[in-house]
């Protein structure tokens, strides 16, 4: 946190004017367009309707995690537990369905479990005064451990068709029966996960820009002591951000498990890095006070398209890891440059 009375902090922050933030988002958007162009040239199938929908599906999970992560990062924190919380939530939904609960209440239960993990993070950070990095690293192990313990490390399958609707269904899907008895997909429709992402993104943007809690999230990350002295309930604000991050991780878990129609306790490893990368590429600053949903959406699409495009181009999963690793470092490096005088 920069001391407002020190000129050093003053000059360091001067580069973070709205102009600079917009420039950053613009350059991210440009990167996105270049990626799409590049992959389209490398592989003709990349721009096909079906592949575009796959990208949309893949991105929706990163996007949901990234929105929650953005809120946490704006408060000046970090949430390393989202990948594990995603798995735990999916497992809890899966087990609830197995126990006979209808799909919607079961999914609600999963999202609530995610929110509770977030609340625990928030409690440890604000009341026990443990740095977010350590607190959420602990939750990363705790949530993963619970998910594995509950399932005996085995995936829960045969969850029924209704469980798969959220992840595999689509709005405005047009299918016609051909003469030979096979269905032909005229228009594959808009996948539910993409619609869900859009709704969550609009909701989160509204919270951050038009509601008091959003203003307080920015103020807390910008200067925590100043926010406290101004009457902002800093602890409540942080707790809110971590609960949102946990609940959105739960939602992302439900989308992912529903797509697989299987509750996988080992799913979502390292997803937190994709989410952090999406937020930072989109202009969120790890030192707090800066960030936004629209930027994170661009970031999520960059990550999603990068993964998908590399797949389509036949690049091995190992090389993909290397590339994404460099992208994460590069994004944080750019953040550092922005914060330098």
């Amino acid at each position: 946190m920069s001391d407002v009375s020190k000129p050093a902090g003053f000059y360091a922050l001067k580069s973070l004017t709205p102009g600079a933030a917009q420039l950053h988002r613009l350059s991210a958007l440009l990167t996105l367009v270049l990626l799409i162009l590049g992959f389209a040239l490398a592989s003709p199938a990349f721009l096909s309707v079906n592949n575009s929908l796959t990208v949309l599906l893949q991105t929706s999970v990163i996007g949901l995690l990234g929105i929650g992560m953005t809120m946490v990062i704006i408060t000046g924190g970090i949430d390393l537990s989202v990948g594990s919380v995603l798995a735990l939530s999916g497992v809890i939904t899966g087990m609830s369905v197995k126990a006979g609960l209808p799909v919607i209440p079961a999914m609600t239960l999963g999202v609530i479990a995610g929110g509770l993990c977030g609340a625990f993070n928030g409690f440890v950070i604000t009341k026990l005064r443990i740095p977010p990095f350590v607190a959420t690293l602990g939750m990363m192990l705790i949530a993963r451990g619970i998910a594995l313990q509950l399932t005996g490390a085995a995936p829960i399958s045969q969850l029924g068709e209704a469980f798969g609707t959220l992840g595999n269904g689509a709005l405005f899907r047009v299918v016609e029966m051909r003469d030979n008895g096979f269905p032909r997909v005229v228009f594959p429709g808009i996948p539910y996960p993409a619609i869900l992402l859009l709704i969550v993104a609009i909701g989160a943007a509204y919270l951050l820009r038009r509601r008091q809690i959003g203003r307080h999230i920015y103020a807390t990350g910008s200067n925590e002591e100043a926010a406290r002295l101004s009457g902002v309930r800093v602890d409540t604000t942080k707790l809110y951000a971590y609960v949102m991050s946990g609940a959105l991780a739960g939602l992302a878990g439900n989308v992912l498990m529903s797509r697989l129609v299987t509750a996988q306790p080992s799913e979502g490893v390292m997803y937190e890095l994709d989410a952090i990368a999406a937020a930072v590429i989109g202009g969120a600053s790890l030192s707090g006070g800066v960030g936004g949903v629209s930027g994170t959406m661009i970031g999520a699409f960059i990550i999603g398209i990068l993964r998908n495009g590399l797949n389509m181009a036949g690049v091995s999963a190992f090389i993909q890891q290397i590339v994404i690793g460099f992208v994460v470092i590069g994004a944080v490096w750019i953040d550092q440059i922005r914060n330098r005088p």
């Binding site: 001391d3 407002v4 001067k14 008091q212 307080h216 920015y218 103020a219 100043a226 101004s230 006070g289």
Partner: protein
């Protein structure tokens, strides 16, 4: 004049472990009065002011506002009874613009509970223009503003709301001469309106120029409380540094009184 002081601090104590930051301090403030709170760093004056602004909870003692006992657990409690503070660090959120800072923690809302940024912007423009007609950068994050402009925002925030008691912690330390004069004029104007002001300052010129009374702290205790006419700059310096008045003070003062 009301019959009660604006605020009374009675037998206030604050200690951190074995360190006694404030020991049995009592202090009052009347409407339209400027009281200088002096002392070198670590004398306990900032601590005392933080207790009064609700940013720090005392270990003992009582605070009365308008004759009624109050208890502050957070800054909002003190603001609710009309105590506003201008911190030396200004307590501004660097990434937010002036209107957002001015209303931080007390945002104006529309009927639906949304932030009413248009109204906040308009109100902020008015109050800032009153303090500094040249203030135009309402949309810039405050990190990009000059020290004087940042000070104006902090002052505007403290006087916009229904203020009765104002605590100013080194309000002129970061300012140039013309801005210092502006702050001095403002203090006189607020005093004329019946607002009570605690002025924490190192600047002897400001203190003698503006204060009606001074309270000097040393090692957590009040070592001197005097009307400004009773003391000279040397007397005050002696109180600050040694914790006592010069040996010849009472004789001198008696002479002056006669």
């Amino acid at each position: 004049m009301t019959e009660h002081p604006l605020v009374e601090m009675i037998d206030i104590e604050k200690h951190f472990g074995g360190v006694r930051a404030v020991e049995h301090v009592s202090l009052d403030l009347w409407p339209g009065e400027v009281v200088g709170v002096l002392g070198h760093n670590g004398a306990g004056k900032s601590c005392l002011m933080r207790i009064l602004s609700g940013a720090m909870i005392p270990n003992g003692g009582e605070i009365r506002v308008g004759g009624k006992t109050v208890e502050f657990t957070e800054p909002n409690d003190a603001r609710a009874v009309g105590i506003e503070t201008i911190y030396q660090t200004l307590a501004l959120a660097d990434h937010l613009d002036a209107p957002k800072n001015l209303f931080l923690g007390r945002e104006l809302k529309t009927r639906f509970g949304n932030l009413d940024d248009a109204r906040m912007h308009e109100e902020a423009r008015e109050v800032l223009a009153r303090l500094n007609p040249n203030f135009k950068n309402l949309r810039d994050p405050v990190s990009s503003l000059s020290g004087g402009q940042r000070q104006v925002i902090a002052i505007a925030r403290a006087i916009y709301f229904d203020t009765k008691i104002l605590i100013m912690d080194e309000p002129t330390a970061a300012l140039g001469p013309s801005e210092t004069a502006m702050v001095a004029d403002l203090i006189r104007q607020l005093r004329a309106e019946g607002i009570g002001i605690f002025l924490v300052s190192h600047d002897m010129h400001d203190v003698f120029d503006l204060c009606d009374r001074i309270v000097v702290m040393n090692k957590g205790k009040v070592v001197g409380a005097h009307a400004i006419e009773e003391v000279s700059k040397d007397d005050v310096l002696s109180l600050i540094v040694k914790g006592e008045l010069p040996a010849d003070w009472s004789a001198r003062n008696l002479e002056a009184a006669l």
